[in-house]
Symmetry: C2
Subunit: 194 residues, 2 copies
Amino acid sequence: MGRPRQFDEQDAVVRATELFWRRGYHATSVRDLGDELKLTPSSLYRTFTDKHTLFLRALDHYRATESAQAERLLAVDDRPVRDVLRDWMLWLVTCPPDGEPGRGCFVVNTATELGTADARISERTEAAFEVTRQALRSLLLKGRGQGELAADLDIDGAVELLFTTVLGLRVRERAGHGRAAMATAIDVAVRALG
Amino acid sequence: MGRPRQFDEQDAVVRATELFWRRGYHATSVRDLGDELKLTPSSLYRTFTDKHTLFLRALDHYRATESAQAERLLAVDDRPVRDVLRDWMLWLVTCPPDGEPGRGCFVVNTATELGTADARISERTEAAFEVTRQALRSLLLKGRGQGELAADLDIDGAVELLFTTVLGLRVRERAGHGRAAMATAIDVAVRALG
DNA sequence: CTAGTACGGGAACGATCGCTCCACAACTCG
DNA sequence: CGAGTTGTGGAGCGATCGTTCCCGTACTAG
């Protein structure tokens, strides 16, 4: 009972995610959030407890949507594994296609801004990283099983290199590096699978 | 003439660099800096103009010292290029060996925290990135010239992949990833040179 | 209708932000 | 010595930080 909400909580989380994503945790003030989400401080705190909790919600939302899209791209079953891998990496690097400067990856930005100091945050970034590693691993296993990749391919090693490369790519997108250079890196990485 | 300084300016820059490195730009307050550098606000502002300018000084100092150490490691001339490359990458990832959580790379942390919004900062991060790419390029060229690497090695491609890998490694160090996993990624990357 | 409950709007809390100002101290030069 | 110059210490500026509180509002239950 009581007075009904005048805003959509999920929509507010989406907007908060975009703001935190672009500016990072410390550079985003509660008033910035209030303006963007069209929420007064009282509604914001009543709904999301505090800034830190809202940030965790934003991280979770980002992981959920990002993972969903990634799974869709990786689930393509009728194309060569190498092509699926390349397209997925290219997509990771082109996520925000419209003008404006690259936002990089919210998880990577968060991990570098806050390091390992905050446990509740770093357990989320680590979980996100682990999802990526597992997605790479199962894709490579599929490729090896289908004979597209060498039978003696070092899966663990390949996963580590590809995962590390992905992190590097997302830093470069945030830094505004050209798509061509990153596409080159992706090509070489994929070709390194043998 | 006038009253002499009671502190060493260079030493203050070193301390400021460490603080900005660990905490990032926005999370480091002028009072934090004052405490760490043992400077009153008036001395700090008289000497370094403002927080932003001090941050640029810190970035420049980091680049200078970091580049100097990297050049020393890359200048080793009596060892196989692949070993030099591997050792350099391992060193990049182990820079702060003593306890405490990894600080990652100050340049990478800055690039992801501030993106491309601030021109004076991003021109410095880009310059630092370019130095790394050039160092990789000349090392690979040397290796190819000495016959250690294949004559038809795609230098541009290899540089892009290695550079991207290095950025990813520094993110991972900041995120507290284990040295073993990163060493694996490095091994595979070096082996991918053929 | 009334009582109870959750939300919206916004003033305002104490703390901290980046930064300035000024009286005083410590030096060089004539 | 005194005049000139620069650094030091620290109070304190206005602005903004994250957060709370209060009151009027919009709803449900009885």
